[in-house]
């Protein structure tokens, strides 16, 4: 059996790292009521998000129902599977069902048509605890995000990965050198699953694992790109440089960006201009390659950027730390800003019935003034979160406090409304029971009561669901 699955942590206490988040999850589950908001776990791959969700279900004695991107997630499917889980009581004896919506940031356009809306409905209607999981917080539609409590999972330190790997070695009876374990832990880059997989791949069929036998093919790119960058600044043969670039598992444009990011280290100031000329020419070839889908041109890009820059370096070596291209960090930040901006614009544009480009060009300053004059009102109206409100206010702390106030008020309103509806419903049911069958017992379980009201839609026009669904949803999906 695959060790990734074999050694998947069973209980919350077995999860390595992210202790605070795990505590928050446990507390959420313990105090869970129907008013609780779903959790939204997000973070890099392989750091325990899905495992934690399952471990939580197991620790609480809840049944877990999972829906992930490998299932088709149209509105109908989500409603059938999760909907049944979320509105009806469990029949298998478990007190509750935990609905796990994995890869919530991967709802696909047409194949998952209506999926986002269905998730939203699910969250609103759910009478069961629900956890959403995603890699990218901003890949989640904002209206869903606004209804969840986000918890961020962070990468696991190599230091914490080591003991886990050692304990696996012990159960598998493999003598593993400390240096080998360390090497695996380091090259996993915070990804626990990847570390376990590497250990598995390297040690199957062995009783002893030395560091020369470690199969860390995964992420040695980082090591090699450093080798390539430093090779550019020492006197190295042309063919050697090209061989290094071929052995790297990176595309030429990645290499190009690394070179550009470190150009001041590789090339003396007086030669920067010349180096950029080569890079820019190489870049043209990359452009041709993609534009024309003629991949032979790649090699000219690679040769020009490597040999050209190596020539300008004068072979003086590198005497500072080689860093990933600075623009990657900027891009990551810019991407987030862009996601926030377009989500806000789309929201307002929809409300005003004008295209978002027009809105951006012509009306943005007016709207910004309006929002500044009544931030809470607009945030409530447009269902903005703190980041989105900050787009208008450019004042982080103010945006956050406004949003806190707005959500608090909204929660209270919802509570009142629910209490009122419940009261009204109970009242109606009582009246009807009294009228239809005076001999029926008074203490019917809650669940039947709901089914009953659904079956008689004409007596309760506020009920949205079609009557045919009510009885069957109780049982399908099992």
């Amino acid at each position: 059996m695959d060790w990734g699955e074999k050694y998947r942590p069973m209980h919350l206490q077995d999860i390595v790292g992210n202790t605070t988040v795990i505590r928050q999850m446990a507390a959420w589950a313990k105090d869970w009521t129907r008013q609780s908001r779903p959790l939204l776990l997000y973070g890099k791959p392989g750091i325990g998000k899905t495992s934690s969700a399952y471990a939580l279900a197991r620790d609480m004695g809840w049944e877990a129902i999972e829906l992930n991107a490998s299932d088709q997630r149209t509105a109908a499917v989500i409603e059938r599977v999760a909907g049944a889980g979320s509105t009806t009581a469990s029949l298998t004896g478990a007190s509750r069902k935990l609905i796990i919506l994995d890869e919530a940031d991967n709802l696909q356009g047409t194949a998952d048509r209506g999926g986002a809306r269905a998730i939203l409905e699910c969250i609103k209607e759910s009478r069961q605890p629900m956890i959403l999981i995603a890699n990218d917080l901003y890949g989640i539609p904002p209206e869903i995000r606004a209804r969840c409590d986000p918890l961020q999972f962070r990468a696991i330190t190599a230091h914490s990965i080591v003991p886990r790997l050692k304990s696996i070695c012990a159960s598998e009876q493999i003598a593993c050198e400390d240096t080998a374990i360390r090497q695996i832990a380091d090259s996993a880059e915070g990804d626990m699953r990847s570390a376990v997989n590497m250990l598995f791949a390297s040690s199957v069929g062995r009783e002893h694992l030395g560091d020369s036998q470690v199969q860390t093919a995964r992420k040695d790119e980082r090591i090699s790109i450093f080798t390539l960058i430093s090779a550019l600044a020492v006197r190295k043969g042309d063919e050697d440089l090209l061989r290094l670039s071929r052995e790297l598992d990176d595309t030429p444009e990645t290499i190009e960006q690394w070179i550009e990011g470190n150009l001041t280290l590789i090339v003396p100031p007086e030669n920067i201009r010349g180096a950029y000329r080569h890079l820019s020419r190489a870049d043209e070839y990359l452009g041709y390659t993609y534009r024309r889908q003629y991949h032979t041109l790649w090699r000219y890009a690679t040769a020009l950027m490597l040999l050209g820059v190596a020539d300008e370096s004068g072979g003086r070596g590198i005497h500072a730390r080689i860093m990933p291209p600075a623009r990657w960090q900027k891009m990551a930040g810019a991407k987030r800003q862009k996601a926030i901006r377009s989500s806000v614009l789309a929201r307002v544009a929809g409300m005003m019935h004008i295209p978002s480009a027009t809105l951006h060009r012509e009306y943005l300053s007016t709207i910004t003034l309006l929002v500044e004059s009544d931030p809470a009102g607009f945030a409530g109206e447009l269902m903005l979160d703190a980041d989105q409100l900050n787009f208008f206010l450019s004042d982080r702390s103010k945006s956050q406090s406004v949003i806190q106030r707005v959500t608090k008020a909204a929660k209270e309103r919802e509570k009142e409304k629910e209490a009122f509806e419940k009261k009204e419903k109970a009242e109606k049911a009582r009246v009807r029971r009294a009228a239809e069958s005076p001999q029926k017992k008074d203490n019917l379980p809650d669940i039947n009561e709901i089914a009953l009201t659904k079956e008689a839609p004409d007596t309760d026009p506020s009920e949205k669901k079609p009557p045919a669904k009510s009885q069957s949803t109780l049982f399908d999906g099992f």
């Binding site: 695959d2 060790w3 696909q108 990847s194 390297s202 199957v204 598992d249 032979t296 020009l304």
Partner: protein, 322 residues
């Protein structure tokens, strides 16, 4: 009769892991998976013709024995690359129980980097949900085109381009079995043409074998429409010494009498230039000229004019550099 018609690439595709040449470390690991009858998900990366598919098929044969065809399925992602493939075909195969004595099945997904990111996302949980019944072997040219969550689920094996010795070893083996005489210059020619790609090497050998059972270098170059490395050297020497007329005459012979395609000439010039010991500044400029000519040809420009202009630029570059 039928034997003679088979394509040697298939006929001599190694059946056992141990027969794969030039990837010893990888083969050693794969063999221990066979011994233990266990397998992680695998990701094979590497250029064409280095043994990725061969390794996957051989692995399946050895793990499953006679029932290998029932428990092994190959899908080429570049044929069908949408999310529906993952949700229908792949899931269908993955969730059914293995046949015979096998405890799991293997799904080999060739050219997995052609899958759209959406489809890759759909694949990730499938890999885990059905890990009990199905292992995945993905193959691709660049692992950087495979999304991180999938890389995180796989053991990654990087297949390197084959060294000339490895190619020569395999070519000699096939020559023995086919009863061919392959001279040392023919072996050099084959490894030169193959550039680390075993498929190209075997193809060149089979082509030359049609001409004669005694194969020499010139047959290999002729059948593959390639110029001899010496001819390319001469072409460069002429152009770089400023003899445009001499270079032009040789070019015309290669293109018109020998029928060598302009792209192939550019390709060979590129390889020769890289290897050439010369001023780096000039070399970079010449490679740029090659690229420009290659690009213009790909855009449909006239090959005679562009190739002659290329030689002219070479001559000019040297004059300006001096």
């Amino acid at each position: 009769m039928e034997e003679n018609n088979t394509i040697w690439i298939e006929k001599y595709r190694p059946v056992r892991l141990g027969d794969i040449v030039g990837q010893d470390e990888i083969v050693e690991r794969l063999m221990s998976y066979v011994r233990m009858k266990t397998l992680p998900h695998l990701l094979f990366t590497g250029t064409a013709g280095v043994g990725k598919t061969t390794a996957a098929v051989a692995l399946a044969r050895e793990i499953f024995g006679d029932s290998w065809q029932m428990n092994f399925r190959e899908l080429n992602a570049s044929d069908e690359r949408g999310i529906d493939v993952v949700r229908n075909q792949i899931k269908q195969f993955a969730r059914t129980t293995p046949l015979g004595e096998a405890t799991f099945k293997i799904l080999f997904l060739d050219e997995a980097d052609a899958l759209t990111p959406d489809a890759q996302a759909a694949l990730r949980r499938t890999m885990e949900s059905y890990a009990q019944t199905c292992r995945f072997i993905l193959s691709c040219n660049y692992s950087s085109k495979i999304i991180d969550p999938i890389q995180s689920r796989c053991a990654i094996y990087r297949f390197r381009p084959l060294l000339p010795e490895a190619i020569a070893e395999e070519i000699r083996r096939i020559a023995r079995r086919e009863d061919l005489t392959v001279g040392p210059d023919a072996l050099d020619a084959i490894t030169y043409i193959a550039q680390g790609d075993m498929r190209k090497a075997i193809n060149a050998l089979q082509g030359a074998a049609i001409l004669s059972r005694r194969i020499d270098g010139s047959m290999v170059y002729a059948i593959t429409s390639t110029a001899r490395p010496e001819e390319i050297e001469e072409l460069l020497n002429l152009a770089l010494s400023g003899d445009f007329d001499g270079a032009e005459a040789l070019l015309s012979r290669l293109m018109h009498e020998r029928g060598i395609a302009p792209n192939e000439l550019i390709n060979q010039c590129y390889r020769a230039l890289l290897r050439r010991d010369m001023d780096r500044k000039l070399k970079v400029r010449l490679i740029d000229h090659l690229g420009e000519a290659d690009f213009r040809l790909s855009e449909g420009a006239d090959s005679d004019i562009q190739m002659e202009a290329l030689l002219a630029r070479f001559v000019l570059s040297v004059e300006r550099g001096a």
